[in-house]
């Protein structure tokens, strides 16, 4: 079964990421490739490069980023292929743990959602 794992965090904090976190993330991804669980992953640019399309007065309306009012934003995602939800949760736990180990002030969440198949 496949899960989409989204890392959410305060966008202002993301600018202060210490170099150690990038190294740790690299090792984490290599581990995911070597055990076959990581299908694909991407980091996202700040919301200033994005937009939100919403409904205003019954019509579609686009608003360019940054999304100042949002507290936590998706900063990156991974698609993982595992045998159980517990396995996806363990991958998420390790991801949060490596943030804590390498970036003690980090504050964020990993949202894990199962991808519908068939």
């Amino acid at each position: 079964m496949r899960f989409l794992c989204m890392v959410r965090m305060d966008e202002a904090q993301a600018a202060e990421a210490p170099p150690a976190i990038y190294q740790a993330m690299g090792a984490y991804e290599q581990e995911g490739r070597a055990n076959g669980t990581l299908v694909e992953s991407q980091g996202l640019l700040p919301s200033a490069a994005g937009a939100i399309v919403t409904v205003a007065d019954g019509r579609a309306k686009a608003i360019d980023g940054p999304f100042a009012e949002a507290k936590e934003l998706v900063g990156g995602y991974a698609v993982v292929d595992v045998h159980s939800r517990a396995e996806a949760v363990e991958l998420g736990r390790r991801l949060v743990q490596l943030h804590l180990d390498n970036w003690p002030t980090w504050n964020g969440t990993v949202e894990i959602r199962q991808i519908a198949e068939f």
Binding site: R33, A34, N35, E40, V79, S84, A86, E90, L91
Partner: protein, 421 residues
């Protein structure tokens, strides 16, 4: 955390860690059966202590240390009458004392060695796939039994027999290099693709496909791509499996009947898998030499279908040319049969039938249901309905897959009806 949650978490950790755990233990202990035993002992120890103590921060290192301590006990017990075991015990004990979590940093080499061992030439194809599923993919005996519609006892017996064969062949201490390494890697790719194909079109049973086997094969392909980077055939196989699996959900109707390529709703093809497949194919092409290997060629073939927005847009001339290359490369009569199909589509059914007719008496294709099935299709398109009906009936009698048999019987009935009109 409740006991049930902890159990699920321990199982999850085992899934994530078992491959590299066993792979590292095989390197240290030079004994496949013992490596698996002490790894299992470590999980039993986790089940006994983690529910109370909580899951350690680095569960993989915990399992490794526990397994090594267990191995030391085993070697010490043997040491009473075996000097070599005593040396190994001391060596291991020192390693554990120096750095309890160490031993999981040669992951790539270790896992590849484990794959080579599982696909050892002394083993039968069946033993190779079973052992690969057990030790590399981390499946339980019950899961393998379910996947292969076999009994657990049969699978367990197959595994223990395979481990004995490996011990007799001293498989755990070999370090293949050069041409032998290339051969062993080819064997691993062969096993992974066999596994994928068994999931993609089950050779027997009630279901036309068994997607869980495809998933395991895809996972093994990703592991290979990570541990043998920049290899054209590894990338080719990854591309091939991604592209083929993009059609899984379109290949079966709501009632479980097979849907053939021409009749598939292409909007149901998985676009993400196609993109990943085409990306891997581009990577493979970039590192391939002048003589593309069989998996790269097959990925090129799959890409011809993936790129066609509608069945009528398929570049059958390119497909026929690629099959010609594949036949030259592998000498495979099945590839030749597929070339007949492609010729039929590119240059008309007469061209296809001329080649298919030559394959009727091919010894390697005796009993292969796709020979009459392909001939039936070509004959039907030539308006020779009575002959087509006879071929479909023959094909239906030859396949072991119930769903495919129904499809072929239906085609026979339709062809017979057309012949009396």
């Amino acid at each position: 955390m409740g006991d049930v949650t902890t159990r699920a978490a321990i199982e999850a950790v085992w899934r994530l860690e078992s491959t590299r755990l066993i792979a590292a233990l095989v390197r240290m202990l030079r004994d496949v059966a013992l490596a698996e035993d002490v790894a299992q002992d470590a999980v039993v120890a986790a089940l006994a202590t983690w529910p109370a103590d909580g899951i350690p921060d680095n569960p993989g290192a915990w399992l490794m240390t526990t397994a090594k301590r267990r191995a030391i006990d085993v070697f010490r017990a043997r040491a009473r009458h075996d000097r070599a075991a005593e040396l190994l015990a001391n060596e291991l004990a020192e390693a554990v004392d120096d750095d309890p979590g160490a031993g999981i940093d040669h992951v790539e080499d270790d896992v590849l060695r484990l794959m080579f061992i599982c696909c050892h030439p002394a083993l039968s194809a069946e033993a190779q796939t079973t052992l690969t599923l057990k030790l590399v993919a981390g499946l339980s005996t019950r899961e393998i039994a379910r996947a292969y519609l076999a009994s657990e006892a049969t699978v367990a017996q197959r595994v223990s027999r395979a481990k004995r064969t490996l011990a007799e062949a001293n498989a755990a201490i070999e370090e293949p290099s050069g041409a032998e390494r290339a051969e062993r890697l080819a064997a691993v790719l062969g096993v992974v693709y066999l596994l994928f194909n068994e999931g993609y079109s089950a050779t027997e049973g009630a279901d036309w496909m068994r997607p869980p086997l495809c998933d395991e094969a895809l996972r093994l392909g990703r592991i290979l791509a990570a541990i043998v980077p920049g290899d054209a055939e590894v990338l080719g196989l990854t591309a091939l499996m991604e592209l083929q699996s993009s059609r899984l959900r379109a290949r079966v109707g709501a009632d479980g009947t097979p849907v053939l390529l021409d009749d598939q709703d292409r909007s149901r093809w998985d676009a993400a898998r196609i993109r990943r497949g085409l990306d891997a194919l581009a990577e493979a092409e970039a590192v391939a030499g002048d003589e593309p290997g069989q998996y790269l060629l097959q990925a090129e073939l799959a890409a011809c279908h993936a790129r066609a927005a509608a069945s009528a847009d398929t570049d059958w001339m390119r497909i026929a040319a690629l099959y010609e290359q594949l036949v030259r490369r592998t000498g495979s009569p099945v590839a030749e049969l597929n070339r007949a199909v492609a010729l039929g589509r590119a240059y008309g059914p007469e061209a296809g039938l001329a080649l298919a007719d030559q394959l009727v008496d091919h010894p390697a294709l005796t009993g292969y249901h796709l020979v009459p099935s392909v001939r039936g299709d070509l004959l039907e398109r030539l308006g020779r309905h009575a002959e087509a009906a006879a071929e479909f009936t023959r094909a239906a009698a030859m396949t072991e897959n119930a769903r495919e048999r129904e499809l072929l019987e239906a085609r026979a009935v339709a062809a017979r009806a057309a012949s009396v009109e």
